[in-house]
């Protein structure tokens, strides 16, 4: 212990008397780590935002009745043609109700599963927005607004309103913002909704829905489930879709398969629905890390260089230390300590620099149509990035210091003393 203290004090003295070189080396690390923190925070923030754009809107498992042709056509049931080659032309989809049979018992059953975070019923219906003589086709989705806000961040996509306002209004509608623009409607106005069967209902606009995807915003609106059931003239158990949010997104695939088997419904999991998203994020992450690691390696070479120079300058000191009883290992430790001190100081400053600049970026205005709630650039202040940053600084400087210090260890004091 005493030994370590002595060695540390020598390392410190060396660093402090060569403060300019030390500062240069440490600054290399500072910029490397700082750039890493900024890049990773900003890139992952952006990634998160882009992913959320789609993933927030997509349930982990989406359960519905799909309109599709029967897998078994009647002819296959007829034994006489069993061994023949049958061709059926013009197959039509099977007549099927849109409604999920026994929806509420299924919801209750799924809600008990411990992997499930939330189960939300939805009622999708085709409607028309009526403006004078013009009828605009669209869809009205009946939802439980409070639960949608909790599990699918509905509030992030509402402009001039809130999920609570929708919940509190028995004839309220969250109108798609593009429709509102087309029809010059404002919050508080009434909009006429026509159903397929021809009935017309006036609904009061409690807010605008803006998903950021224009094609969706020009069609889709939301209302309470009960409101939609009333418009359609359907009973209270009329549900067309069930959205499930899981605790662990990776279990979605298997669970979707189980649900399909158990209830003979279609269950689409999020990975199948949005396979391309994973690829995009992982490539962006790869680029972030490649650039960061390059920066840190450059910083590492800076340290390597400066320590190498320092060791040439300190040849005499190394010889004296060895002559008065410091072992090769002690001398190596002196230089390793110097490298790690440079790495630590530079790294911590880098974290501070990175945090400061990320904070600055976080406050730069960034207005986008896509996300009404986003007012500034998205920055991800994940604590782990800071841990990774400082670890990398220490590891990189450790290796940068190792080779020069190994050289210092091997220096033969006799060569130096004789050489003078």
């Amino acid at each position: 212990m005493i030994n370590r203290k002595v060695i540390l004090s020598i390392a410190k003295t060396h660093l402090l008397t060569k403060i300019k070189q030390t500062a240069t080396a440490a600054l290399g690390v500072t910029f490397g780590i700082g750039a890493y923190i900024i890049m990773v925070s900003f890139m992952t923030g952006l990634n998160q935002m882009l992913d959320d754009l789609i993933l927030n809107l997509t349930p982990h498992i989406h359960i519905y009745n799909e309109i599709q042709p029967s897998k078994k056509q009647p002819i296959t049931l007829y034994d006489d043609f069993k061994n023949s080659f049958n061709i059926v032309h013009s197959i039509k989809p099977k007549m099927n109700q849109k409604k999920i049979h026994n929806a509420y018992p299924i919801i209750n059953y799924l809600a008990q599963n411990k992997n499930v975070l939330g189960v939300l019923p939805q009622l999708k219906s085709q409607i028309f927005y009526i403006a004078g003589t013009i009828e605009l086709g669209g869809s009205l989705i009946g939802i439980n607004p409070i639960e949608e806000a909790t599990y699918f961040k509905l509030n992030d996509y509402i402009v001039n309103g809130s999920a609570e306002a929708l919940y509190n209004s028995s004839n309220g509608i969250l109108l798609g913002i593009e429709i509102a623009k087309k029809m010059s409607l404002n919050v508080g106005d009434r909009v006429q909704i026509g159903t397929v069967s021809g009935t017309v209902f006036p609904l009061k606009i409690v807010g605008f829905y803006q998903s950021g995807i224009a094609d969706v915003d020009v069609i889709q609106s939301f209302a309470n489930i009960k409101t939609v059931q009333r418009i359609l003239g359907e009973p209270e158990n009329y549900i067309t879709d069930i959205n499930v949010k899981l605790k662990d997104i990776d279990k979605a695939f298997l669970m979707a398969k189980d649900i399909e088997k158990q209830f003979s419904l279609t269950a689409m999991d999020i990975n199948t629905a949005n396979a391309q998203f994973d690829t995009g994020s992982s490539i962006r992450n790869l680029i972030t890390y490649a650039v960061s690691i390059t920066l840190l390696i450059v910083a590492g070479f800076g340290i390597y260089n400066i320590l190498n120079m320092l060791i040439y300058e300190k040849m005499n000191d190394i010889a004296i230390l060895k002559a008065i009883g410091f072992s090769g290992k002690d001398v190596q430790l002196i230089f390793m300590y110097q490298a790690v001190i440079i790495g630590f100081v530079g790294g911590v400053l880098g974290l501070i620099l990175g945090f400061g600049l990320s904070h600055l970026i976080d406050n730069v205005p960034f207005e986008t149509e896509a996300l009404p709630r986003v007012k500034t650039y998205p920055v991800n202040f994940n604590f782990w990035y800071y841990i990774i940053g400082i670890s990398f600084a220490l590891i990189a400087t450790f290796f940068a210091g190792y080779l020069p210090s190994q050289k210092a260890k091997k220096i033969d004091p006799v060569d130096i003393i004789r050489g003078q």
Partner: protein
């Protein structure tokens, strides 16, 4: 008389640039409290011998004993410890750590040894400096003092762990006559008053004449 240092049949070869037999069958010993000087012309191998005796050079044949213990094939770690505890060095060039103060330079070997607290070490270091009449330099940077003073600091540093023997490689070689005399007097005083064993390589006749015994070397052999 107890032998502090003893060599038996030491041979050393330089392999580069050509094979060269530097030390030829060196057998010698130094008794406790003896002040010995090694003399010889340049290139006769006297410095090479000193580096072997100092344990810094381990590439030789033969046996080296310190305090009657064979230390020839000890590990580098053990040899470092031996140098630290039992051997004090004074070189021709005043090898001090220039960025440290005089006091820190003197304390360093004792701190490395770690047998005493830093307070005790500081007290002893001050005593050594007082003994050599340079206590007023204690807080100065080692790079800010004169050559003669540096050499005395180096002696104080060599003394700090109360070593069995002090070795000097032309300790007066780089000093003017006044400072040389000064350094010699310090050695003489240590030899007489403290009973220290000293081994000094020199080619200063006046210096050598005043020591207890002169080992004369020529072409890698001891002649007297």
């Amino acid at each position: 008389m107890r032998k502090v240092l003893e060599t038996k049949h030491i041979n050393k070869y330089f392999k580069k640039p050509v094979l060269f037999h530097v030390l030829k069958d060196i057998s010698m010993n130094i008794n406790e409290g003896e002040f010995v000087s090694i003399m010889g012309k340049s290139g006769c191998g006297k410095s090479t011998l000193l580096y072997i005796l100092s344990t810094m050079d381990t590439d030789y044949d033969g046996e080296l004993y310190l305090n009657n213990k064979l230390i020839t094939r000890n590990s580098r770690q053990e040899l470092s410890y031996i140098r630290n505890k039992h051997i004090g060095f004074v070189f021709q060039f005043h090898y001090l750590l220039s960025e440290f103060t005089v006091l820190e330079n003197v304390m360093l070997p004792a701190k490395k040894l770690g047998e005493k607290t830093f307070q005790e070490i500081e007290f002893e270091a001050m005593q050594k400096l007082k003994m050599l009449n340079i206590e007023h330099l204690a807080k100065k940077r080692a790079s800010r003092i004169s050559g003669g003073e540096k050499q005395r600091v180096a002696i104080a540093r060599a003394l700090i762990n109360n070593p069995s023997i002090i070795m000097g490689d032309e300790p007066t070689g780089n000093l003017d006559s006044h400072n040389s005399e000064n350094v010699f007097n310090v050695f003489k005083k240590l030899s007489i008053e403290e009973g220290l064993s000293l081994l000094v390589v020199t080619h200063d006749d006046d210096f050598a004449k005043q020591t207890d015994r002169i080992i004369q070397m020529e072409d890698g052999k001891i002649i007297t």
